[in-house]
Symmetry: C2
Subunit: 327 residues, 2 copies
């Protein structure tokens, strides 16, 4: 930069001013500096700058970068950040607490200016206090941690569970429902189940609810489907996400039970509409969630400290064929 200044015949200060847009510089000199930058092929050193002022990189922690829903969230986060000149340092915990702790430390050493995190399953107050002691603007995304007071951007899981169960019970008169998938102790899972219970209670009818856990993969969905087929099918199945829903549907088809029960997925990933039968799903718009969280974070960074509040998006039930409503 000192070269640029010299080449343009100005002081380092002035050069810095035109680079950052701060301070008042005459249009004439500004253009002269710009020209020097161009001919010298100078490129701004963000790293060096970060040594003085606040950096422009933001940490993003997700459980699994390659799961469709998280991919959507990430794309929203990333585009919002880069649109404002920030860059996202994204890492994936594989939903493991030890990895999460390690990555958190790495991000801290990298001086990220803020943190957006989808906490790994089982995250507790240790995570929160670790972040607090660090004192970095943070937003929890898509999953919250009990007892945390930092802003949270997610969707209303209770409502999601309610919508799914309500549809099965009211529109299809299901008398037995299975909730399938998700980590046993995940907050999303627990909330959705309370939504389910609420819907059942409201319906007034006697409904038998079974609660099953499984990994969030197609394979796990397939296995679960076969077990279900063997042990007697419920009237309806609410899956923790679309991926396992598709696996279940496939397994039931293979077991000769195609269309024998209603299946509802969660997240409404892109391919849900294409599956045969098309998948009824609770849509949560991950991309929007990501954008919202990123915007909130940017706002905090820009000094609007107290303005940030939590945000709960309303999920929407997209009714398709897999729950028995044939288009």
């Amino acid at each position: 930069m000192i070269d640029v200044a010299r080449h343009a015949g100005v002081s380092r200060t002035t050069a810095s001013y035109v680079l950052t847009g701060a301070g008042r510089v005459s249009t004439a000199t500004r253009e002269r500096v710009q020209a020097s930058i161009e001919t010298l092929g100078y490129v701004y050193n963000e790293g060096a700058a970060s040594l003085r002022r606040k950096g422009r990189t933001i940490g993003v922690i997700v459980p699994n970068i390659d799961r469709p829903f998280f991919g959507e969230v990430l794309s929203g986060v990333e585009s919002t950040f880069t649109a404002s000149g920030y860059m996202a340092l994204m890492v994936s915990t594989r939903d493991r607490l030890d990895q999460q702790a390690r990555l958190l430390r790495m991000l801290r050493e990298h001086q990220v200016a803020a943190l957006a995190i989808i906490p790994a399953t089982g995250s507790n107050h240790d995570l929160v206090s670790s972040i607090r002691s660090w004192d970095v603007p943070t937003v929890f995304l898509s999953r919250y941690v009990l007892g945390a007071t930092e802003p949270y951007v997610g969707s209303d899981e209770v409502l999601g569970g309610y919508l799914a169960a309500d549809h099965l019970v009211r529109a299809h008169r299901c008398r037995s429902i299975t909730y399938l998938g998700g980590p046993k102790l995940g907050v999303a899972r627990i909330d959705r189940l309370t939504g389910v219970h609420r819907a059942l209670a409201e319906s007034g009818s006697e409904v038998n609810l079974v609660d099953l856990t499984c990994e969030s993969t197609v394979e796990a969905g397939i296995r679960a489907g076969h077990e279900l087929a063997g042990s007697g099918l419920p009237d309806g199945i609410i899956c923790h996400n679309d991926t396992v829903a598709l696996g279940v549907a496939r397994a039931l088809f293979d077991a000769g039970h195609a269309g024998a029960t209603r299946i509802i997925g969660y997240d409404d990933i892109a391919t849900a509409q294409a599956s045969i039968p098309s998948l009824t799903s609770v849509a949560t718009n991950g991309r929007l969630l990501g954008e919202t969280a990123a915007s909130a974070l940017l706002a905090v960074i820009s000094g609007a400290e107290p303005a940030v509040r939590s945000h709960l998006a309303e999920p929407q039930l997209i009714v398709r064929e897999s729950c028995g409503d044939h288009a």
Copy 2:
């Protein structure tokens, strides 16, 4: 760090040595320093360190962070990097050249130590020379740029096209084949088509090949499927990726042409096996691709300059039901 040194009763140099593992420090003092670090709650400042030595963040550019295949690649890249103490600055170009240029510049300003890039469609020598003038270790990933000499990690697209077409022609005696999807000028697309042509030539039989373009979304696949249904179905369809394949399959089903033609997808994403009918697909193992590229980059960074070479993985045809082979 100066505080740590003081607290431990050593010089900054020594403190630095134990932090980085460089230099020789007696076990006694090392432990003393570690203790001070602990009690003082000191955290290493990677940004400051990068001002002197090479940084430990690596730029990763992809066209679309939320497309399943790229998600797989990214997860491979990310886990390999973080396992070695590097962090990935990931950005998504939305497959647009202007975005790509902008993001490239941002990454440069952030002093990334290396670059892994899936170039946006239409990238040409401008991209290459821009990267060269920058002089940063680079690996092209999954898509190459004509005339680039930097290492490339991808899969053998010609072979992939060949496998798909060969199966349709030899196993199913298809006499008319449509290649559907992908950006018109994408290198992957062109290569796969030469593979297709090769298979047709080898078969010796007269085959009518139609070449159609579409966006890589479910919706585009559905539209294309309806058009195909309207204008007469070919004996077999090779889709540019699984997402459009699923869309096509759905559209044909809706148009009353279920099972009327053979469909082959590409990438073998997780849900391909669960679809009904299950999707025959050319598997490319994106995760492994990502890991390979990341390892190559790490090797270059570690000084093994000349050792890096291109790597072409062999895709594999996973035969399932959508091409007429019922399990």
